[in-house]
Symmetry: C2
Subunit: 354 residues, 2 copies
Amino acid sequence: MPPNSPKARPVTIKDVAQLAGVHSSTVSRALNPATRSMVAQGLAASILQAAQKLGYQPDHLAASLRTGRSQLVGVLLPDIANPVFAPILSGITERLIEDGYSTIVADAGPGSPSATALLDGLIAHRVDGLILATAAREDTLVGRCLERDVPVVLVNRAEAQPRVSAVVSDDMRGMQLAVDHLAALGHCKIGHIAGPPTLSTGLLRLRGFEAAIRDHSTSLEGFSQNATAYSREAGAEAASKLLAAAPQITGIVAANDLLALGAYDALRDRGLHCPDDVSVVGHNDMPLMDLVAPALTTVRIEHRAMGREAADLLFQRMRRDDIPTRMVMLTPRLVIRGSTSAPHQDSRPAPLRE
Amino acid sequence: MPPNSPKARPVTIKDVAQLAGVHSSTVSRALNPATRSMVAQGLAASILQAAQKLGYQPDHLAASLRTGRSQLVGVLLPDIANPVFAPILSGITERLIEDGYSTIVADAGPGSPSATALLDGLIAHRVDGLILATAAREDTLVGRCLERDVPVVLVNRAEAQPRVSAVVSDDMRGMQLAVDHLAALGHCKIGHIAGPPTLSTGLLRLRGFEAAIRDHSTSLEGFSQNATAYSREAGAEAASKLLAAAPQITGIVAANDLLALGAYDALRDRGLHCPDDVSVVGHNDMPLMDLVAPALTTVRIEHRAMGREAADLLFQRMRRDDIPTRMVMLTPRLVIRGSTSAPHQDSRPAPLRE
DNA sequence: TTTAGATCTGCAAACGTTTGCAGTTCAGCT
DNA sequence: AGCTGAACTGCAAACGTTTGCAGATCTAAA
């Protein structure tokens, strides 16, 4: 069906111009809805028709070079494989596409080039803006973006000193919810598996935990243990240490669902049952957390909304660069499932080795 | 620290040329490792130095326009939120970045523009190649790519009539493994929850199921029920129908993990237990399938490897367009967990409603 | 010394758009 | 009729690279 089959040079705006008998600039104006009004109605129609007939497809690339806008937004993720980032990415792309932007993603996960190299790569593609999900509390990447002045917003994690806008969950409040829940169930000795303190989520959730414990100062005692990373393995390791150091705890609140799952592993290893012996609450409510055994009580973050919001913030920043930087905080919500229950009155039975 | 702070026009190759006292073309050659040998050693060194000093960053965009290569590969996903695609995407980006390519992803999930529109968008960005994870057995998108002759490979799903290369799992063999496993445990009446027959995975897994049943013709009887989509809800619905139509089945093999999880739901609704009353086996071994209750016996597909392989195939095709199209089949492997066991000898107890 | 070639560098065109500017036409007014 | 301005279209430059070609310089062989 293609009229001229072999190696058809892609049809450009000039070809359309020739067929329509006008200058290429007129075609450009007619094709772009924003400038279409500049050209006479009838002419515009026949140009569109000509374009249609030739199967003209615009070349963003060339346009970008001229306009300086690429219609591309870069997204830097700490690890695509981590299930929390899927909905964030989904929210981002969904919002971006509404305004005709495409998403170019880079994964700073294991086995990738350095994040800096990835960032430079994105910038080399002339992205109009960047969304970083990788930010540490002291982040060098943000500075790099600022130098090149490419608009940037942070998602999920924020900097210690906010230089750019960010959308995060209210991490302290989330921990408050978790601790209050355990307290209401009657727990008195509560442990926390903290995330890396270099990340805002790690630090703020720890702070939130401590604050919540203080609020119940008469009745609650808290213990915490750092995990080296947000992974199931690190969670198991930290939970083991925590249980060894403070065997009297009846509840654990983890900074993250993966850490909570690691705690499951550690409990199983010691012959302890959740929630009968120890209640566990997670953070994030990743996909499938309702299906693990026991179903995980956790602090839900609307990641998809978070992604959308980040994209939105980025758009605002891209339109005007004198926009004040701001911090959007999403309110988390506790989802109660099977991993938490009232603590047993009697002392915990000695673990049986079979 | 930036020498000239306000609105510094980004430094171009010409600025470097001026500082180094040479022509811009020489700078271009010196900067590109592939052409560096054309310029005198000492000169090249001082050019690099000048570039360094000015903080020159190359502009891919402009280069792309000239060379016709964008160093961009488009990836079209049916649904980012579906956990299977995360590892595939991860494998793709990982392989692409090794050769200096970036990934631009488009999500054809719910609430997105039509897949065709997304495809056109990717092509407008002048991607050098495309990886489609969305392919139906009769796919219109592939034809569209072929017309514009942009290199394309399929991943996870293949066409009925292969026009382009694809990397898939050996779906028929996967079902063979699943059925054999149930047969070995002593199951005789086995049900299948099939995926959409418009997708190669749906159809081939059904075929594989049927073939496997035939192989055991003396001892096995099979029943199958179509699910309308690859989702937990559709799985639950199909499982209900299946159990209603063939209550004698003691094992279910689903075309997909999500469908299997739906089957869990359906069983629970009827007061049946897995694996005591009905064994269930899934397909894919998505992340976290070892943690659901009961842990899911499933056919593992190496999605990350699949993504890498697809990227690799694409590179081959991008380098030479006379490469024969081929089909890479990854061998799946059965992972046995808690959702399968020998069927009970006695007739199943009547479900109790409490 | 001449010549052939090798080696290096500069020139300028191209890639496909967008857009400021200027020119043309024409309607409406005085 | 003459003038003003609106409405439309064309011209050509620009965006930042890469690259074929040709000129320049130098080395080495004849």
